[in-house]
């Protein structure tokens, strides 16, 4: 099992550490040729505008779109924005997932928060019962899901924070900043 982590900007090394922790090889992806032989790809947290501009500049957009048609991709925060079809803003998007995203939907940094989420599917897949402690940083909100995309997790007030569409996964929070490897394990099951 070999998982790539898009390493244009952001907390890609945190994702790599999590993958290593669960015994999966992590490969940094900066150019199209780095996608060869990968079983899946993680797009990390960071600044979605920065990641998008670099992906355009180094001809990654089309190879990433093609990769996503046949492989698992997981975007966290900025990565979730990058995967979406619509982010209510002028910036490069992969448009792979039928989700509409609102950037910085919870406010500025002083409004960033941590909270527990009950994610049935995740708990079932990993055979665990405790809630998932999620870290939101200037987080985007998944405003709505369409087509084949479905809601994986929402806050108590119904606002969507995780979605899945086949082997594509989007979370507006950061599992890579925790010591809880369940989300990475869940993604690996999508990639295998």
């Amino acid at each position: 099992m070999k998982i790539g982590v898009l390493a244009l900007q952001g907390d890609f090394s945190e994702h790599s550490s999590m993958l290593k922790k669960i015994g999966v090889d992590a490969v940094e992806v900066r150019l199209p040729k780095h996608l060869d032989d990968l079983d899946g790809l993680i797009i990390p947290g960071g600044e979605s505008t920065t990641i998008g501009k670099l992906a355009v500049a180094y001809d990654l957009m089309e190879p990433l779109k093609q990769f996503g048609k046949s492989h698992a991709i997981w975007g966290t925060c900025a990565g979730a924005i990058f995967l979406s079809k619509n982010a209510n803003s002028e910036q490069p998007l992969l448009g792979l997932m039928d989700i509409k995203v609102q950037r910085n939907a919870f406010g500025r940094q002083v409004d960033s928060f941590e909270t527990d989420l009950e994610i049935d599917e995740l708990m079932k897949a990993t055979g665990t019962e405790h809630p998932y402690h999620a870290i939101f940083i200037r987080a985007p909100l998944i405003e709505s899901v369409h087509g084949k995309a479905r809601i994986l997790s929402a806050l108590e007030d119904g606002r969507i924070v995780a979605a899945q569409e086949g082997r594509l996964l989007a979370t507006s929070f950061h599992p890579e900043l925790t010591n809880d490897t369940r989300f990475h394990q869940y993604f690996i099951t999508l990639a295998s």
Partner: protein, 295 residues
């Protein structure tokens, strides 16, 4: 379910999102947009870049809140702003504006010559400068959630940034080979909190994100700092004091992503126009240096 804001994980976490990126000094909305378009991962809103602060002399203070707010409205990326060392009321004001990070900065004239701000008291995260590991860990002890090596701001001379990054990275390597019984003496000799010294040894790196600052003027400078082991780069005067800011800004962004790829660095270094004129730090009188501010 309990929801918490302003936690240590949140504060450190935003800096982790900035890694592999370039934070650019901007003095107005137009520059902020140029920085965002070039791929900056954040901007530092201030009235004068360090090169102008040097040239103008006098007391340098927190910027006009109105100017900071306009920049916050103009861009979607995080906005940082500077307060004076020890000036906790400037910090309170910046926090109330909703800036995403406060830089307690030696570039402004210090307000307190003995004490820094107790940054744990704030919900907004802080970044602070350092010249060595002791200074870095003292700032983290006070609550800084991000560190930057100071370099010498407003000079365009990277030599001090290299000195400070080498000092910090060298100390981290030194700690890796030390016995646990030697750590207290290391803490004493460096004026560093003991618990943080232990943590650095255990982690093999700083406990928070560490950027380089002060003197980065070219893509090669930025990649040099990255290869020395920092997590990202601040560029102050280097962009908007150069001949073609938009092009240079985009080139420096690329150089931080591809810092290990000399062929990309060669490509982005082509035809950038005039770099900032710069000042040679080795010929600068001690009193003019900013890096010595902070304790």
């Amino acid at each position: 379910m309990e929801t918490k804001t302003g936690t240590w994980i949140e504060k450190k976490g935003l800096a982790q999102m900035l890694k592999g990126g370039v934070i650019m000094d901007v003095v107005n909305v137009e520059q902020a947009r140029i920085a965002e378009d070039a791929g900056a991962c954040a901007v530092m809103a201030l009235e004068r870049v360090p090169a102008d602060i040097r040239a103008d002399g006098g007391v340098a203070r927190m910027s006009d809140p109105d100017m900071i707010l306009k920049i916050m409205e103009a861009v979607s990326i995080p906005v940082m702003a500077k307060c004076r060392i020890g000036h906790f009321v400037e910090a309170q004001i910046l926090e109330s504006l909703g800036v995403d990070y406060i830089d307690e900065s030696e570039v402004l004239t210090p307000a307190d010559e003995e004490h820094h701000i107790l940054k744990h008291k704030f919900k907004v995260p802080f970044v602070c400068g350092c010249r060595n590991i002791g200074e870095a860990l003292r700032r983290i002890g006070e609550g800084a959630a991000m560190i930057r090596t100071k370099g010498e701001a407003g000079t365009g001379d990277v030599v001090e940034a290299v000195r400070h990054a080498r000092s910090v990275m060298g100390s981290i390597r030194q700690l890796q080979t030390m016995g646990d019984e030697e750590l207290m003496t290391f803490a004493k000799n460096n004026g560093a909190p003991y618990e943080l010294v232990k943590e650095v040894k255990q982690l093999g790196r700083m406990p928070v994100v560490n950027f380089a600052a002060g003197g980065v003027a070219t893509p090669a400078d930025a990649a040099l700092m990255m290869q020395l082991g920092v997590d990202g780069v601040f560029v102050g005067s280097g962009i908007f004091k150069s001949g073609d800011p938009a092009k240079r800004a985009a080139a420096i962004v690329k150089s931080v992503t591809f810092y290990q790829d000399a062929s990309v660095l060669a490509e982005v270094s082509k035809n950038l126009g005039e770099a900032m004129v710069g000042r040679n730090v080795s010929q600068m009188p001690e009193g003019e240096k900013m890096a010595g501010r902070g304790w």
